[in-house]
């Protein structure tokens, strides 16, 4: 079922509670009464079409309106990606960290060194994720926005051409990977190898959060790979083809 603009915001949550973090990352808070999506978006001055496309692509994995999404400005897209970064850094990661901390404190098995290693492992993962996000925020997104501004202004001056030749979004495609390997390993260590006894419920809670984080990161990466990168590539190509024009 596709989410439409005249649907009640409350019904969206009843339909799929996994959309809660997505809604909150647009700055929307609970308590929307009987307001429709359209009304809520107007209230928060959000682009309702963009909001709907994002909701639908998270709601239904087969619904990925690549072409529609590419119709939105890179500014809008990077703003959204930035908001999901904030969500990872300020919500998801600290939450998992806390759970892991409680988990190692609950240890009564004498495997303290294993729990410490898992903490350390997650710390390394966190640091890699932070580095990755920082790189995107400081290097990639500003570049993307410059390209968009140049494209819109039909600016093909040597400065912008040199910028493309120096960086180009191709670099980003290659840099972009690998962080997920650690997350995958952590899941497998907890699922397959952690020695008993340990707090099983806590372990389940951690696993569920890791799976959610992973799935959210995958959706995030999908928007970057399938929407952001092709759009920037198109603009880069146009600019390079119109040098001196």
């Amino acid at each position: 079922m596709q989410i439409q603009n005249n649907m009640k915001m409350a019904s969206v949550i009843h339909l799929n509670y996994h959309l809660l973090p997505i809604i909150s990352r647009f700055g929307i808070t609970l308590g929307f009464g009987d307001k429709t999506i359209e009304q809520v978006c107007r209230e928060y001055t959000l682009n309702v079409d963009f909001f709907l496309e994002i909701l639908n692509s998270y709601h239904n994995k087969d619904y990925f309106p690549q072409k529609h999404l590419q119709g939105f400005s890179l500014k809008l897209i990077t703003e959204y990606l930035h908001k999901s970064h904030e969500y990872y850094l300020h919500n998801k990661i600290p939450q998992i960290e806390q759970l892991l901390h409680r988990f190692s404190e609950s240890d009564q098995s004498g495997h303290l060194e294993v729990f410490q290693l898992i903490d350390k492992f997650f710390n390394e993962y966190r640091q890699e994720l932070i580095d990755h996000i920082r790189h995107e925020e400081e290097k990639v997104y500003p570049y993307v926005l410059m390209i968009e501004a140049a494209f819109q202004a039909k600016n093909t001056t040597p400065a912008i051409v040199n910028l493309i030749r120096d960086y180009s979004i191709d670099h980003f495609e290659h840099e972009h990977n690998n962080v997920e390997d650690k997350l995958f390993d952590l899941k497998n260590i907890l699922i397959k190898y952690l020695p008993f006894p340990f707090d099983v419920h806590l372990c389940h809670a951690i696993l569920i959060e890791l799976f959610r984080l992973e799935s959210d990161l995958n959706d995030h990466a999908r928007i970057e790979d399938k929407v952001l990168v092709p759009k920037v590539k198109y603009m880069e190509k146009w600019i390079l083809e119109h040098i001196n024009a």
Binding site: H111, E113, V114, Q116, L117, I118, F121, E124, D181, K182, F184, D185, L186, N188, I189, K192, Y193, L194, P195
Partner: protein, 199 residues
Amino acid sequence: METLSVIIAEISPLARLGIIGILNSLGYPLTIKEVIHADKLLQVLHKDQKQILIISSSFINAASPEVLQKVLINKKHAAKVLIRDTCLLLKSLAGFDEIIDPEDHEKVITRKLEKLIAILSASGRIVVQNDEISDREKEVLQLVALGLTNKEIAEKLFISSHTVITHRKNITSKLGIKTIAGLTVYAVIHKLIAPEHIH
């Protein structure tokens, strides 16, 4: 579970038992077929290509040219291993993936077979679904967890860097752990290394 299918074409019972003993020590689930008479060899050669044929030179000497033609030229198996037990009038050793010599130490034979199996399974020519990691893989894992590079591991274990990489691929696919940090946690849980030895 998928087993590793091996055909041993060898006349000497001592040699057959020796090879079977070494194969068993590798830790893979095996299906072994022993062939003693040269004319029976064609019957056990399966249509599928996922077998390893271990054949001795005395066996080859006793076989008729047409059997040899079919067995050695037709590429019906994943790999061929020659036990060079007698002086052999074979024109070339090409076509054999590994040669075992009579003076080879048991450890050398083990290493040769392990390497062969690792290469074959990494390239998909045989399917070894053994989730237990072998003793050799354990050694590699230990050194990986201690922070050694592939080159250092190769020097330490007297194997090539290429073989180290192959072992690492197999370790990762068996354990479902991709990163060095993850492998380190696994190694500590399984007491392959002590936590204080981690860099």
